[in-house]
């Protein structure tokens, strides 16, 4: 699998996710935001961090950077996209996924492990998880409170686009329907607030996140 990790000024989980992709066996290209050329790849990754300082609205400026036009075009032809944390915010800002990520309910940044329920397993990212399996993945964000209007939420449910939810009682940010991650209808675009790359080896406390990269490796290669 060839994966392109898009690096925006202010991205700070780009290396972390590249480490996990490589550990899973992928060949990784780091692509600078100002580039307009994207190498041919099977997966595009928008990493976590504070692109453009999270100024104005998280992800808003990154969504308008030159490389994103290319990412959106490629996504349109079926190339898979994974947006983690700030990457998820970019995906909603550029319209690849619906809704927005608002400030956390208690207005504080939150970094801790959360229990997640895997709600959709027929995607290239989640097929190695069991349906309704509970896994532990950390979050670290100030704006992870997923919001969409009722109609959109209904559609997400109807089209089985909710990939991960926070387990009951463990919603760290007030997200609607406890949403932690969503996909597009095809399942090839995934945006999620939790950071699978931070729990992908035993030394870091657990390996639940590793299977997400292994899934992608199997399905997208």
């Amino acid at each position: 699998m060839r994966a392109a990790v898009i690096v925006f000024p202010g991205s700070n989980c780009d290396r972390d996710v590249a480490v996990c992709l490589e550990a899973a066996g992928a060949q990784v290209d780091m692509v600078w935001h100002g580039d307009t050329e994207l190498p041919s790849c099977d997966l595009m990754v928008l990493p976590g961090g504070f692109s453009y300082g999270d100024y104005l609205r998280c992800g808003s400026m990154a969504a308008n950077s030159p490389i994103m036009r290319e990412v959106v075009a490629r996504a349109g032809t079926g190339t898979a996209v994974l947006g983690i944390c700030n990457g998820f915010q970019v995906l909603t800002e550029c319209g690849l996924l619906p809704g927005v990520l608002m400030q956390n309910r208690n207005l504080n940044f939150v970094c801790r492990n959360t229990r997640l329920k895997v709600a959709r397993t027929d995607t290239p990212f989640t097929h190695l998880y069991a349906e309704a399996e509970e896994i532990i993945i950390p979050v670290a964000h100030n704006e992870g409170n997923y919001f969409a209007d009722d109609e959109t939420l209904k559609r997400l449910q109807g089209e089985n686009c909710i990939a991960f939810t926070y387990a009951a009682g463990d919603n760290p940010n007030g997200a609607c329907l406890d949403i932690a991650g969503i996909t597009d209808a095809s399942g090839r675009v995934l945006g999620m607030m939790p950071h699978p790359e931070r729990r992908a080896e035993a030394a870091l406390g657990g390996e639940d996140g590793r299977r997400l990269f292994a899934s992608a490796m199997e399905r997208l290669a």
């Binding site: 000024p9 202010g10 700070n12 989980c13 290396r15 972390d16 480490v19 976590g48 961090g49 504070f50 453009y52 300082g53 999270d54 100024y55 208690n106 504080n108 940044f109 939150v110 970094c111 801790r112 950390p138 670290a140 100030n142 950071h195 790359e197 931070r198 030394a203 870091l204």
Partner: protein, 734 residues
């Protein structure tokens, strides 16, 4: 046409005083200059000779600290200290205070404190890999406390999280002496290769002096002098000097500097911290024993009509000064421009040993460098030692609460309650190498791509330092040593941040001298030298000083991270031992303060440095041998609180089979650890202790969901956890 020039301002005694200089100091300046300084020169001298930049009250005593060792690559005197951690890797670290700015504007004050200390570390070529902080606030119920806690914590997180460096540990105390003067000490640790370390010294006459980073505004003008001045209730008026941090720009600056550093274009580099352009250029030129000529018309400015005085003294953040190899300017400019940062050649090195500043075609300052850099007087301020206090006799005291109630009060009180509310606001995991984050003894951060880890901690117990500065100084170093040892790592070196009141008062100066004496002794005995540090004096409001607070930042290394042990019980059926003798020292203990409500001062627990070292060596060896499955040092709250802390994280209880009085359970005798030993390792562990002449005692067995002491106490972990976890959220309103 020429506007009135600031240098037309006459130098009056009042102006000299406003610059924080004494009449004698002014006379010395005149003597160095061979004439009266003009207004700009006075400003430059005043910041360079401020307590903050010149260490004039503390230098004499700092010189006595041990700064050498085979592990030391660079001791105090550079932007940060550097130690060798093997395999060609170096750890670079320093701690610094941002106390006064954080009291005035907690968010920005704390944020810029974090930004500043990270620049100190990455100017030396390191990539920052961990941040820690040591915080002191006033009483929890003081009217300003919550506002300050909230602002400081989100400021630290706001900056560190954005730049993408994990905040992995720290400490927090509350005490009335900090009501009007909080302490915000930030520590940063970075990694570099030992052959790629950058220093501040500028060499090569004619080499270009280059300014990079953000533009200069009127931020924090006189910040350095403010940091050395006592607060009074009129300090509100000093507000417009607040600097605003921009972590996004700092992240770009970090990446751009790292990119340029991978070439050999840089001769010397220095961040613009306190006293900005002035101190960075003076220090670089002085260290290289050259002169410097600055052209202020080239300095990128954010505001119009800035005077030379303002540009020289501005403390705008996220800026660096570099001296480049001649001819490499374009290559460097390309990098900084690509990262969207300002880049300007603002001067050159000369052979004059003078600092000459040009603005609008005129020389506005021309000063000899040596006196600026190290001509400030060194004061031997009068100091009186803190009188010795009697020990507290545990036997003579009746206890108002039973063991369980006492335990709950301590575990759910301001000093011991969980700091989760704080650390969950910090990204402690970014960079993917945090093996142990906040909540353990020392944090463990893997050296990226290796099997090694750094062990990091900050420690000091101000109430001990107040009662007995020498013991308090020793204890702070010893506790850092212990926290690192408890993970299995080898303690290597420390940084410090020495927060004290007004040194012009002999009893405060006595505290300073005593603490340094104690620190020095402990560093020597434990082979734990000081490689960097910072002094913050005049921490007082309306004549009331803070408790002496010499915060220690300790760094150790674990060569094989698979050998690390945690501080929490992980399995039932383990034997629990206490290492070190327990006499029941209640003087200065939290129990004496919060349960017995004793307010007559008493001696703190004594530190026995020889034993401290023997116990540390023993614990590390036993961890290395695989005999110990978890280890925790015994500090605040004594044995019973330490036991509770080991039970809570994984909800594994403990049944204690020995009995003791309140002194035994809550005394804070030093040099102790609690360890859990698997049944099959007990014999080897006990044999090793006997051979090493280390006192150990088996006290109980892990298991269950309660903490029990036979015939004396049964308390569910849930109940302790509730008290422990609820205090902070309740204080902060959620």
């Amino acid at each position: 046409m020429s506007a009135p020039h600031v240098n037309d301002t006459p130098i009056t005694p009042e102006l000299v005083a406003e610059h924080g200089l004494t009449p004698d100091e002014y006379e010395m300046i005149v003597a160095h200059m061979g004439r009266a300084p003009n207004f700009t020169e006075l400003g430059v001298f005043s910041v360079m000779w401020s307590e903050h930049c010149s260490y004039k009250s503390s230098r004499k005593w700092l010189k006595k600290l041990p700064v050498d060792g085979p592990q030391v690559i660079q001791g105090p005197g550079e932007n940060a200290g550097v130690i060798d951690i093997g395999d060609g890797d170096a750890a670079i670290f320093k701690m610094e205070s941002h106390n006064h700015p954080s009291f005035i504007e907690p968010y920005q004050g704390a944020a810029t404190g974090v930004g500043g200390i990270m620049r100190d570390v990455f100017t030396m070529g390191a990539r920052p890999v961990a941040n820690l902080n040591a915080l002191r606030f006033g009483q929890p119920d003081h009217k300003k406390t919550c506002h300050l806690v909230a602002g400081v914590v989100s400021g630290i997180g706001g900056y560190g999280n954005c730049i993408g460096v994990p905040t992995v540990g720290g400490e927090v105390n509350f005490d009335a002496s900090y009501n009007g003067n909080i302490l915000v000490n930030a520590m940063c640790v970075g990694l570099a290769r030992t052959d790629k370390i950058f220093y501040a010294a500028a060499t090569g006459v004619g080499s270009p002096v280059v300014y990079v980073g953000s533009k200069t505004g009127r931020d924090g003008i006189h910040g350095a002098t403010m940091a050395s001045a006592e607060f009074d209730d009129a300090s509100d008026e000093k507000r417009p000097t607040v600097q605003v941090g921009d972590p996004f720009t700092e992240k770009l600056l970090l990446e751009a500097c790292q990119e340029l550093m991978s070439s050999d274009a840089i001769i010397g580099i220095q961040d613009m911290g306190a006293a900005g352009l002035t101190s960075s250029s003076v220090e670089m030129a002085d260290k290289g024993n050259v002169g410097i000529r600055l052209d202020l018309d080239k300095v990128p400015c954010r505001e119009t009509h800035m005077s030379g005085y303002e540009m020289l003294l501005s403390e705008s953040q996220e800026r660096m000064l570099m001296v480049l190899q001649p001819g490499r300017e374009d290559e460097a400019a390309e990098i900084f421009h690509r990262w969207g940062l300002d880049f300007a050649v603002v001067g050159e090195l000369t052979d004059t040993n003078r600092m000459v500043v040009v603005h609008e075609g005129e020389i506005i300052a021309d000063m000899p460098l040596k006196p600026l850099a190290d001509g400030a007087p060194e004061y031997d301020r009068p100091h009186t030692a803190t009188p010795a206090l009697p020990a507290l006799d545990a036997q003579a005291l009746t206890h108002p609460l039973d063991l369980g109630e006492s335990l709950l009060r301590l575990m759910g009180g301001s000093e011991m309650a969980s700091r989760r509310w704080i650390w969950e606001q910090y990204d402690s995991m970014v960079m993917g190498d945090t093996l142990v984050g906040p909540g353990g003894d020392a944090a463990l951060v893997r050296v990226h791509g290796t099997n090694k880890a750094l062990a990091l901690t900050t420690d000091v117990t101000p109430r001990y330092c107040l009662a007995d500065p020498v013991m308090g100084g020793q204890q702070a170093v010893a506790e850092a040593y212990r926290n690192i040892s408890a993970t299995g790592a080898t303690p290597l070196a420390i940084t410090n941040c020495l927060n004290f009141g007004n040194p012009e008062r002999p009893e405060i100066m006595g505290q300073f001298v005593g603490c340094l004496d104690g620190m020095g002794a402990a560093c020597r005995a434990l082979d734990f030298p000081v490689v960097s540090g910072n002094v913050s004096l005049y921490n007082e409001t309306n004549g009331r000083g803070i408790m002496p607070t010499p915060a220690i930042g300790g760094v150790g290394v674990l060569d094989d991270l698979t050998k690390a042990v945690g501080s929490a019980f992980a399995n039932a059926g383990m034997s629990v031992y206490v290492i070190g003798e327990t006499h029941g020292a209640l003087g200065c203990s939290l129990y004496a303060r919060d349960v017995l409500a004793i307010d007559t001062p008493a001696a703190p627990p004594p530190v026995d440095l020889e034993r401290e070292r023997a116990h540390g060596d023993f614990v590390r060896a036993q961890i290395g041998a695989g005999h110990i499955s978890c280890a925790h040092d015994v500090s605040d709250g004594g044995l019973l609180c330490a036991l509770a802390e080991m039970c809570l994280p994984q909800k594994i209880g403990c049944a204690v089979e020995i009995s003791g009085d309140h002194g035994f359970w809550f005394g804070e005798d030093q040099g102790r650890y609690l360890v859990a030993i698997a049944p099959d390792a007990r014999a080897a562990f006990e044999k090793a202790a006997a051979e090493a002449h280390v006192h150990i005692a088996q006290i109980g067995l892990t298991g269950g969901a309660e903490l029990t002491i036979t015939d004396a106490m049964t308390i569910s972990l849930d109940e302790i956890a509730k008290a422990h976890e609820n205090w902070f959220p309740k204080l902060m309103g959620f």
